[in-house]
Each structure stands twice: as structure tokens, then as C-alpha cells.
């Protein structure tokens, strides 16, 4: 019995609060949540249409323009190879955001499956799988990326696979606790007694009640993936130059920083930070909302 032992409510119109409560889907995330969603929407838009939006060819080099500062028509100036920075930022959005998205999708799919399966079956299956995941959990993402890139040629794909493997245990662990809690509820037992098949119960009922948490964790994971991928690219084990990618640009901009032309690293860095912060805030708000949902 909670401290406030009130009846959960009447069916029918309860006087609603007058203030606007937000965009459907983002209710409860507050102003910060909405702003973050907006930033991400812009980033997503640019990721899809970046190449078309870019005013100039992002790969066109012209050494006579190397390190030239902002000009009319070139708001960020040029990089060490004379390429228009603004266009490169816009074009780079795609690979910078594509990678983390792929990591999140893969890790969430595998992680959710393992979480629900271990929570449902329990026993030896649970113990063995959890032990295996714990071993994997011990490897930092970067170390795994290095290992994978030794086996396969370093590329965005290899980095993506490495990160997905690194993140799966984290997701599996978080979702497993939630799945266990849900599994213990009477409605799952009622469905078992009805004779509903186990996998149908897991997908249609258990899984669906985990969706808010899955979405929230996915958002949080995106931020981590972005930073880790950028770091991997920075180390030369992911996306490689001359491809436009924010992580790569932070790396190749180092020479510019040393010579007093920091705009390449700075602008790419700011973009990464902005997206990561937005994703973290949104993820946090969504997680809070998922945990406080009334039952």
C-alpha cells in the first residue's frame, strides 16, 4: 500500500490540466526533451538529405584554398585540402549518424531477444547465457574494435559490428531485470494457464510492455555509440579519410589546430557533442517516463 492510498481513477473525463502537454510521443519529456528531439530531427534530416543540401562538392580539393577562413558562400571556410568545410559537415552527417543507428538496432535486437529468453526460461539457460554475456561485458568497446579490425579490414562496418557486440551485454542485462519483473506478474501466469504459446506471450505481452524501456535505452545507447564510433574513426580503425565523417574530421583537423586553423576539428566536434547531448537528454527523459508509467 503506497502512502497515498487513492483509487486509481474513474473511467471517463477527469478534469485535464489546461496547459499544453507536448507533442504526442514526447509527452512527459519536458522542454529539454522536446528541444533535444528537435536537434535530433534536424540532424536526421541532414543525414538523409545532406549530400543534396551541400552548397559545394564536399570532396572537391583545391590546395590553393587550404585553410582559408570563412567567406561569403563558405560559412566555415576550408580544410587542409581546400575542401568546403560546411559541405563536408553536412555530408558527414550521414556516416556519423548511420553507424550509431546500425549499432543500436543490432544491439537492441540481439540484446532484447537474449533478455526475454533468459527471463522466460530461467534455470541453466539463464545462468550460462548470463555468464557468457558477463565475459563479453568485460571488454571495453574500443578493445573489441581493435580485435575485430585485426581480423577484418578496418571500416565503418567492422567498427559497427564490434560496437554491437560490445553493447549487447549491457542491453541484455538492463532489459533482463525488467523482463523478470514483468514475468512475475499475474497476467503472464494467467496467459500461461489459458494455454497461450510461450513465444506469443513473450512477444505480444512481455515484449510489448518492455517497449517504452527499449526505446529509452536505445536513445541512451545511441549517444555512447556515436562517441565510441567517432573515437574509433579518430584512431583510424573505422571510417577512413578522405570520406567526410565528423569523427574523421576531428582527427584530420589536428594539423589545422596546430597551425592555428581549428575550424575543422571544432565544427565537427561541436556537431558530435550537440547530437550526443541531445540524445542523452532525450534518452534520460524517456527512461524516466518509462519507469514512472502508471499501471
Amino acid at each position: 500500500m503506497s502512502a497515498i492510498e487513492l483509487d486509481p481513477g474513474v473511467v471517463g473525463p477527469v478534469p485535464a490540466t489546461r496547459k499544453w502537454r507536448g507533442v504526442p510521443g514526447l509527452r512527459g519529456t519536458g522542454v529539454a526533451g522536446h528541444l533535444s528531439a528537435l536537434v535530433l530531427a534536424i540532424a536526421g534530416f541532414v543525414a538523409v538529405f545532406g549530400n543534396m543540401l551541400a552548397p559545394h562538392d564536399p570532396d572537391l580539393t583545391n590546395l590553393s584554398y587550404a585553410f582559408v577562413g570563412p567567406q561569403p558562400g563558405h560559412p566555415l571556410g576550408f580544410d587542409s585540402q581546400g575542401r568546403d568545410l560546411f559541405s563536408r559537415i553536412l555530408a558527414g552527417a550521414r556516416s556519423s549518424l548511420l553507424g550509431p543507428t546500425a549499432v543500436v538496432v543490432l544491439a537492441m535486437l540481439v540484446g532484447t531477444f537474449l533478455a526475454v529468453a533468459t527471463a522466460w526460461k530461467g534455470g541453466r539457460f539463464d545462468r550460462w547465457v548470463s555468464a557468457g554475456l558477463d565475459v563479453l561485458f568485460a571488454f571495453p568497446a574500443i578493445v573489441l574494435a581493435i580485435i575485430v579490425s585485426v581480423i577484418v579490414q578496418p571500416s565503418l562496418l567492422s567498427a559497427t559490428i564490434a560496437l554491437s557486440i560490445a553493447y549487447t551485454p549491457y542491453i541484455a542485462r538492463v532489459l533482463r531485470s525488467a523482463a523478470l519483473r514483468e514475468r512475475a506478474r499475474d497476467y503472464i501466469a494467467a496467459l500461461e494457464v489459458q494455454g497461450l504459446r510461450a513465444w506469443i506471450i513473450c512477444v505480444r505481452h512481455l515484449g510489448r510492455n518492455l517497449v517504452p524501456l527499449i526505446v529509452a535505452q536505445g536513445a541512451v545507447l545511441f549517444g555512447y555509440a556515436m562517441v565510441d564510433l567517432a573515437a574509433i574513426s579518430f584512431l583510424g580503425l573505422g571510417v577512413r579519410p578522405p570520406q567526410a565523417d565528423w569523427g574523421v574530421m576531428v582527427s584530420t583537423g589536428q594539423s589545422g589546430v596546430l597551425q592555428g586553423y581549428p575550424l575543422e576539428s571544432l565544427s565537427a566536434g561541436v556537431c558530435i557533442i550537440a547530437v550526443v547531448i541531445a540524445v542523452n537528454i532525450l534518452g534520460e527523459r524517456l527512461t524516466e517516463r518509462a519507469n514512472s508509467v502508471s499501471r
Binding site: V11, R185, D186
Partner: protein, 262 residues
């Protein structure tokens, strides 16, 4: 076949490691009958309910329901479904017995689709029928559980259990978590349902007054064993076993004073 009891439990036993939760329990319920299993915590009554519904497997002993043996886990989905159509259960906690993302109507419909198939129009009308049987209107049926009170949720749970058209309904402390005035409504409802559908009840409860209201027969359990059995009226009016006498004398009533045991 007419002579065989609806539920026949013989020498049921359940061990959890070294702890014996249910020890050599036998009882029967005839078609259309109603039996209560009364006991306090640790008596084993809920464990028995779980074994009958298949959520737990007996260590030894047999359970037969509707002429089929169910002492061992069901082999395959078809058998599980068939068993679900014979014995159903309503749990105690109204806040945990419904899928929070499913309206009552959807939950009932899912059960109907599982057991009876048919067209979706036929199912929809059956949902409405079951809703009115348990006293829920259309708006309440289509609302999510979070908009419903405890009593309303239990009504949905009862309707969902009845959707499978079971011959035996197990009520595992199903009214214990309800307010007194709501409990009265649900007890009346259960009496009506039994009169209208002929379903049999197995009531698991610690509340002797509720037991008297709903059931014809009772067995009293303590620490996994049956200590007394008989017609509810007789056992409550003239308890023979000292534990039953203790239970009976512990119930608050006008003029009653609590007494220390030790």
C-alpha cells in the same frame, strides 16, 4: 462418466528442496460443486492451486480434471489449450492480473480467439455478453487497466477467465484485496455467475466469512496438511480440530475480544 468428479486430487505432494509445502492432500469437487481451501500463510493452499493449473509440477500424487489427467506438464500447445478450457484461475492482486497495455475487451477477445476461433463479429458480441455478465459497461471494457479501479479490474479478470468457458474456476484470494463494499458486489457477482453458467468453484482463502458465503464444502489446511474437512456450514459452526477452532475464534465480530496465544 457422470460419476467421475470434476476435480479429483489424490495424495498430492510438493517439495521444494527439503521443505514440504504440500503433504498427502486429497479432495474432490463434484460437477457444479464449490470447495474452499482455507489456511493461513505457509499452509500450502496457493501451491495446490498452482499445481492444478499447471504452473507448478507435483512431486507426487495425481490430479484429474474433467476426466483427463494433469499431474504432469502438458505435452504441446494443443493439450495446454485444452487444459486452459477446463480449469481457469483468477488471482488476488487486481493490479497485476491484467496486461497494462491491453484493454479488457482485447484481453477477453484474445482468449476467445485462442479457444473458440470463430468470426471477429461473433467474438465481439461474446465479449459484450461476458462484459454484461460481470457488470462492466462498454466504456469500462474498452478502457486500459490503469483507468479502472481494483474491483473493476477483478471483474475483467473474471470475464477473461470465463471466456475460456471453463468447468472449474479457481479463485485464489480473488476478493481479498478489495474494499469491503466492492467485495460484497463481487461476491454477489460470483454467486450469479455460478447460477447462470453452472461453473464450479475452488476458492482459496484465509477469510472464513467469504468462504461461508460462496462455498458448500471446505478443507482446512495447516503446514501442508489437511486437518479438517466437511460441509462449510458444519465446519464453521462446530469445528472439530483445534486449529480450526483457533481460526474460528480469531475472527473479529461484535463482542469478540482478541486473545493472546502464548
Amino acid at each position: 462418466m457422470a460419476d467421475e468428479p470434476l476435480l479429483d486430487v489424490v495424495a498430492l505432494r510438493k517439495e521444494f528442496g527439503a521443505h514440504v509445502a504440500v503433504d498427502d492432500v486429497s479432495f474432490q469437487i463434484a460437477e457444479g460443486g464449490s470447495l474452499a481451501i482455507v489456511g493461513e500463510s505457509g499452509s500450502g493452499k496457493t501451491t495446490i492451486a498452482k499445481m492444478i493449473t499447471g504452473l507448478l509440477t507435483p512431486t507426487s500424487g495425481t490430479i484429474r480434471a474433467c476426466g483427463h489427467d494433469r499431474s504432469k506438464p502438458a505435452k504441446g500447445a494443443a493439450e495446454r489449450r485444452r487444459r486452459g478450457g477446463e480449469v481457469q484461475i483468477v488471482f488476488q492482486d487486481p493490479y497485476s492480473s491484467l496486461d497494462p497495455r491491453q484493454s479488457g475487451a482485447a484481453a477477453i477477445e484474445e482468449v476467445l480467439a485462442l479457444h473458440r476461433g470463430g468470426t471477429s463479429a461473433a467474438r465481439a458480441s461474446r465479449v459484450a455478453e461476458l462484459g454484461s455478465l460481470v457488470g462492466l459497461d462498454d466504456r469500462q471494457l474498452h478502457a486500459l487497466p490503469r483507468a479502472l479501479s481494483g474491483g473493476q479490474r477483478q471483474r475483467v479478470a473474471i470475464a477473461r477467465a470465463l471466456a475460456a468457458a471453463p468447468r472449474l474456476l479457481i479463485l485464489d484470494e480473488s476478493v481479498a484485496a478489495l474494499d469491503v463494499s466492492i467485495q460484497a458486489q463481487v461476491l454477489n457477482l460470483l454467486a450469479d455467475v455460478r447460477a447462470e453458467t453452472g461453473v464450479s468453484y475452488l476458492l482459496i482463502s484465509h477469510d472464513l466469512a467469504v468462504v461461508r458465503q460462496i462455498t458448500d464444502d471446505v478443507i482446512v489446511m495447516r503446514n501442508g496438511q489437511v486437518v479438517e474437512r466437511g460441509a462449510t456450514r458444519d465446519v464453521l459452526d462446530a469445528p472439530q480440530h483445534e486449529y480450526t477452532q483457533l481460526l474460528r475464534s480469531s475472527v473479529p465480530a461484535p463482542g469478540w475480544t482478541p486473545t493472546r496465544r502464548a
